[in-house]
Each structure stands twice: as C-alpha cells, then as structure tokens.
Amino acid sequence: MLFQAGFFQEVKEVLTTKEFMIYILEGFKNTFLMTLIAALIGLVLGFLVAIIKIFSQDNKFLKIPAFICNCYTTIIRGTPVALQLFIMVFAILAIPGFKETAVVLTFGINSGAYVSENIRAGILSIDKGQTEAGRAMGLSSLTTMIKIVLPQAIKNVIPSIGNEFIALVKETAIVSMVGSTFGKLTFDLNQAATTISKDTANYLIPAIVVAIFYLILVYSITLLIKLFERRFRQSDQR
C-alpha cells in the first residue's frame, strides 16, 4: 500500500499545497518552541534540584528543600506525562487563557525531573578529590561546585541530557490530548497532520510528511549535541 503508484505523487501534493504547508510549518515552529522552552525550564530546574540534593548532604538548612526535591522527582518520574498534562491543564492551571503556559510548564517540569537525575549522577561521578582540593584552598562549596565540579560533570552528562531533549521533542506530541486550534502554541506538528488529514481524507500521507519534519528536528538536535560534546572535549584532551 505504501508503495502504490500514487504515493510519491500524494506526498508531493501535500508538500506543495500552500495551505497544508502553512499548517506544517506552524506545527513545526510550535513543536520546536514548546521543546525549547520546556528544555530551558528543565535545565534550570534540573540544575537547581541536583545541586540542592547534593548540598543537602552536609547542609542542614537544605534538608527540607531536598525533601521537596525528592518528592518532585519521585512523583514526576513515577507518573505518566499524559496524566501530568491533564492534571496541570484541567486542574492546577485551569484558568482561561493559560492553557499554553500550563502545557509548556508540564513539559518543563517533567523534563526537569529527568535532567536533575542526570546532572546529579554526573556530579557524583566526579572524583571527591576535586571538591576536596577546592575546599582545602578556602573556596566555598558553591564556588567549588560552579568552577570545578560542574564543568566536568556537564561534559559527562551532555549525551544523556541530549537524549532527554530528543525524547522531549516527541513527547510534546501528546499535547493534542488537551486539544488546540491553529495559531496557538499548542498547535504542534502532530496536530498539523490531523488537520491536513481531514482535508485529504487520508491520514497516512500527512503522517509520513510530518514524520519527516520530526526527523529533521530530532536530527538537528543530535548534530547540535555532537557539536557541544566536541567543544567541551577540546578543553580537556585526554
């Protein structure tokens, strides 16, 4: 069925119909934006949570924040993201006009839980001697963390954080579960495919076209990560 005569013709038709392309490009833009904002939220949250957890080991003032952080990662990683999306959109942030915020926050908060575990593992993998040497010279634990431990940890965790973000790109597709209309941030690539298929009365072809755009996005991220990795490795030839 896939390779029947008219297949490429139909793909070409989707790609050359102006109206369809507007949907696809809008969806592409929104999928990209959602991923980007969520990834940034995830990174900030991830660093914060990881550092609070690590420092709480010998700072009694951080015991309660660390407990909250532990609850956060346990709950987020222990429940499906689809459920989190529902709860956020229809309960916690069920305010008219805040759906886009709620969606992006859900993905960001979800991603932060996974990123924090990656970063924490990265920090723990750095030899304790590095911290001790920094502290022994009179540097504060925060300075030691920022100037010595984190740069080494980040280098080690770029690949796994990259994987997190690649997963995130595809995860944003579940946004269609809470519905959206053209022109909103939540109108993603997946929704573009659904919308087009209503006009073409064929779901397969738009789906394949959209899949190609997902691939382009994911592959660009992969390349970006490789670039980062190489940059970081240059500063530490082994």
Binding site: D127, G129, Q130, E132, A133, G134, R135, A136, M137, G138, L139, S140, T143, K147, I148, P151, Q152, K155, S235, D236, Q237, R238
Partner: protein, 311 residues
C-alpha cells in the same frame, strides 16, 4: 600555630581518632608516621577541617576553627551575664560549687539547662546575640578563611581536571580576591619557572606525569601564600623515579622556613628534614620526639615493630 585539642573522630561505630592532642609551632616540620589505617590522614584532615572532629577543638593562630556553634554557644553561655544568673540559680538549686566544676562538668550542666528549654529565650536575646557576634569576631575564624592559610597536598594530586595548569594555579587566589589576576599570573609564573614547568602552563593536568602533577599541586597551594602546608602521603602514588623530584621541592620548602606537617612513609626524608616525628597507631599518638629519638631510640614496642618493617 595549629593546636589540636582532645580531638576524637568516629566514622559510624569506628573510632578512628581517640582523644588526640598535638600542637604545631611556627616553623616546625612535623612528620607523622604509622601503619596504614592508624588515623594519620584523618588527623591531618581534621587540621583543616576536611573531616569534622566528632569532639574536641582545632585552633589556628589562637582562633577556634572547629565546630564553632557548639563550642561558641556553650562558651558564650558561660561568659554571658544573663546566663550567669540562670546558671547561678541552677547551681544554687542543685547545690553545686561552680568553682569546683571542670569545663566538662560545666558543659554537662549546660546540656541539662538546654534540655529544660530555658536556654532558648537567652539565645534569642538581643544582648546575647551582640555578645555572641563580638565573641565570634574575637575568638573564631571562619573555616574558609582558615583554609586560606593552610595549603594541602593530597596523595592523588587532585589538580582541577577542567583547568589548564596556569588556571589551576590562579583559580583560588583570584576567586577569593586575594590577588588581582595580573598579580596571580606573575606569582604563578615565577613558581612555575622555579620548578621548571613554565612551558607546560597551558597544558591540562592529564598531560603531565605524576611527579609533575604533584609539584604543580604543591605550588598551587603556595600561590595562596599559606602559613602552613599539610601533606598527605605526597609521594605514595608516584612511580619510584618521580619520588625524588617531589621530595626535593618539599626540602626546598622546608629550608625556606615553611611550617609543614607531612604524613609520609619516606623515612629518609623524615630523618633529614623533620624537627619532630609523631608515631600514630590505633588512633592515638603513641610516641613523639626528635627524629633521633624516634628512629634511633624508639621506646614503645609498637614503634620498634613498625620501624623494623619499614626500615
């Protein structure tokens, strides 16, 4: 300079240091020897608080650097006027003569009073807080400030892997605003030239040999102009042919008059430069004396046994 008073250290149930006291005077070169696991590293690391003593005090230049909170509260409580009234009342009630109390007993009483929660209003009292601040300023030194005065060299060098050699050297003095970047680079440059590694200044630590790493680690501490240097088996992780270069640098330091505390198994080095040798076993300083006393006239059977194994 460094005064360790009645320090004990427990790791869980294991007591690694048992009521150890020792004093390091300015200009002294103290070598600590003893069998593996006897607590040498732990004692050294208690001196710069990389390990926190479970009990006891560590003083640097007559300033308390260990566990200020507990000590401070208690000591300040003893000094505080407000407290004295309460204490006296308590003492009257309990019919204790305050002059006959040892410090330990005083602390016990404080503990009792703390339990009764009478202490809380006092601790939150404004005058008390003011007194506490004044007391702190006068008698205590913040741990990070103390560490600026104490260099430390580790068995495994612990150079910062993410920084080039020159940045390893200037990171701490510049981040702590002890020197401008310019001054730090000048200082680092002259030290690198002194150990003959100036051409390596832009390399990363992974490109250096063990001996080079340890020498860089030593001058990294020297960049801070420390008053005392602590060494924890600086040559134990080195290939034999590299031990000499590191020991030579340490001898130079000793001749320049640096105060040094060195944990080592290099008995020749100990004999040559030390002014005093401490022999540790099972968490205690079993014997101490001049290198002559320790190496030529050992007294305790443990030391005799130990020396017969290592010499």
């Amino acid at each position: 300079m460094i005064n360790v008073k009645n320090v004990s250290k427990n790791f869980g149930k294991l007591q690694v240091l048992k009521d150890v006291s020792c004093e390091i005077k300015k200009g002294e070169k103290v070598v600590i020897i003893g069998p593996s696991g006897s607590g040498k590293s732990t004692l050294l690391r208690c001196m710069n608080l990389l390990e926190k003593p479970s009990s006891g005090e560590v003083w640097l230049d007559n300033k308390l650097i260990s566990d200020m909170d507990i000590y401070l509260h208690d000591d300040l409580i003893l000094k505080s006027n407000i407290y004295h009234k309460k204490l006296n009342k308590f003492i009257e009630e309990e019919k204790i003569n305050i002059n006959q109390l040892s410090r330990f007993e005083q602390l016990k009483i404080i503990e009792e009073i703390k339990k009764e929660k009478q202490i809380k209003p006092i601790l939150e009292n404004k005058i008390f807080k003011k007194e506490k601040r004044a007391f702190l300023k006068e008698n205590c030194l913040n741990i990070n400030d103390a560490r600026k005065k104490m260099g430390m060299c580790f068995q495994h060098f612990n150079l910062f892997n993410n920084l080039s050699i020159i940045n390893n050297l200037i990171l701490a003095p510049v981040s702590l605003h002890l020197m401008s970047k310019q001054e730090a680079i000048e200082k680092a440059t002259s030290l690198l030239q002194r150990i003959g590694l100036y051409e390596k200044k832009d390399e990363y630590p992974s490109k250096l040999s063990g001996g080079q790493k340890q020498r860089v680690a030593i001058i990294r501490s020297l960049c801070m102009n420390p008053e005392v240097m602590l060494f924890d088996e600086p040559t134990s992780a080195l290939d034999p042919e590299m031990v000499g270069e590191v020991l030579n640098l340490m001898k130079d330091l000793a001749h320049d008059g640096m105060t040094m505390v060195v944990v080592t198994h290099e008995m020749g080095f100990a004999k040559e430069i030390s002014s005093r040798v401490l022999f540790m076993d099972e968490g205690k300083i079993m014997e101490e004396g001049s290198p002559n006393d320790i190496f030529l006239h050992p007294k305790s059977p443990r030391l005799i046994d130990f020396l017969s194994k290592v010499l």
